[in-house]
Point group: C2
Chain length 269, copies 2
């Protein structure tokens, strides 16, 4: 099943995606059984929002070996990959949906890049989880673009603006429940041309490794998201169209726009 | 005015704190004018929740000179304090209210400490703010305890468990709107004995400096919180009672409990 978070006529609602339509449901999809009895709208008539606004926004970093080699080849300090997964955090304020512009701030210089990530959407409260409990607690999967401004990433003490500026976290287009993304392929296209392609499951620690480790100390809640890290970086320039396709989930598409000083618009909902 | 977020009889609501009572209001206090026409309850009959569950949880780090000197005296690398404020993030999942236990995980070793922080609660949407706009957008002030497990803080790549384990972010007891905390004094008491006392306003960058810089890149939303960093560290042991008093705001009190393996309880709401 595919679930989207939608905006239409100033209203926001969750919906089941059926072919070229969406069908409204009550509440959030992970809160209980859903039926197709709600109002039906053409997919083309609604705006796709980030499929969930998480309470806590978790992100794995440095979770693909090839990505880490690339990082070192560029002359950065080797990444400390420990013997257990260590999660990080991103900002809710940076989330935008499928179709929204990624706005490049006027003062970003140097490498401005896409990182294509599969995202686990949590459906159950989880603490001290076993691997089986962690598997059962993932409601479904979506796609994230961990947009990164590399000069800021390496110059600043934190990732506050390098990875968390407005519009730097596109997520969508929807949540797919019937897929095993560890068997999927992630493909990044820049203006229709494939720039990167890798096995989505080629992670150092998989989502269940993370959830087992995280929940030793942290309660994970329904609606939380866990971004799984990326293999490869795709450069982006103003005017580009970036597609991230993960087989079995869908394609997250965003354009890259330049910020116009004094005219920053808000696109988030 | 003082505003609290309360739980009573399985319900949650915002309320005005009047002397020894709370008076229910509709919605969140920053959403519009509030009146004292709602149901009245004795303060002693309600549970004080974290006064807001922020969409995005911002935290300043290394924002008091004396704190940074202490950090270096302990042999850690000097902190890179830049020419502009750099914000960080904490996890919503770690928030608990006044009166809740801080649960020390079974495997925490070494220094386990309180950092006493004043917290700005945002009341308006803010982007590209001037200093005056930043001042006008702060709805009120509360108190936070940035509980820190130092061995994890220095051993791990991220602050995921050192500062974001469950119960590691007490916040409360309420939001005070009629105070200038830059003129306040922060006092930390361990089991009734003063352990630290400092001028709350003795920051490297003040809250408005942060908001001006943050909103160059980030939209800040009503209900977001900005923790302002701490001067000093107070050690904590299981059984301790920790009070953080900020003059003009109130006192945040939490006890320290030991985690019992296999019996972790959830206290967050």
């Amino acid at each position: 099943m595919r679930y989207a978070r939608c905006a239409r006529d100033e209203r926001e609602f969750f919906a089941i995606v059926e072919d070229q339509d969406v069908v409204e449901i009550d509440g959030a999809p992970w809160e209980g059984p859903t039926t197709s009895a709600g109002a039906r709208h053409p997919l083309a008539s609604i705006t796709l929002l980030p499929p969930v606004m998480p309470r806590t926004f978790y992100a794995a970093g440095f979770n693909y070996k090839a990505h880490n080699r690339h990082h070192e080849e560029l002359g950065y300090d080797p990444v400390k990959v420990g013997t257990h997964p260590e999660v990080g955090y991103r900002a809710q304020s940076a989330l935008v949906g499928h179709g929204c512009a990624i706005v490049k701030p006027v003062d970003v210089e140097g490498r401005f890049e896409t990182e294509a990530e599969v995202v686990a959407v949590i459906g159950r409260t989880l603490r001290h989880a076993t691997r089986d409990e962690a598997k059962a607690a993932v409601f479904g999967w979506t796609i994230g673009n961990d947009v990164s401004a590399r000069e800021w990433q390496h110059a600043d003490r934190t990732f506050w603006r390098s990875k968390n500026a407005d519009t730097f976290k596109p997520m969508g287009p929807w949540i797919e429940t019937d897929v095993d993304p560890l068997q999927s392929t992630t493909t990044v296209r820049r203006n229709g041309v494939v720039d990167a392609s890798f096995a989505t499951g080629d992670m150092i620690f998989d989502p269940y490794d993370f959830l087992v480790e995280m929940t030793k100390y942290i309660t994970v809640h329904p609606g939380d998201v866990l971004w799984m890290g990326a293999d490869g970086n795709t450069p982006m320039a103003v005017g580009d169209v970036i597609d991230i396709e993960i087989s079995g989930i869908g394609t997250l598409t965003n354009t890259v726009a330049g910020e116009v000083a004094g005219e920053t618009e808000r696109t988030q909902r």
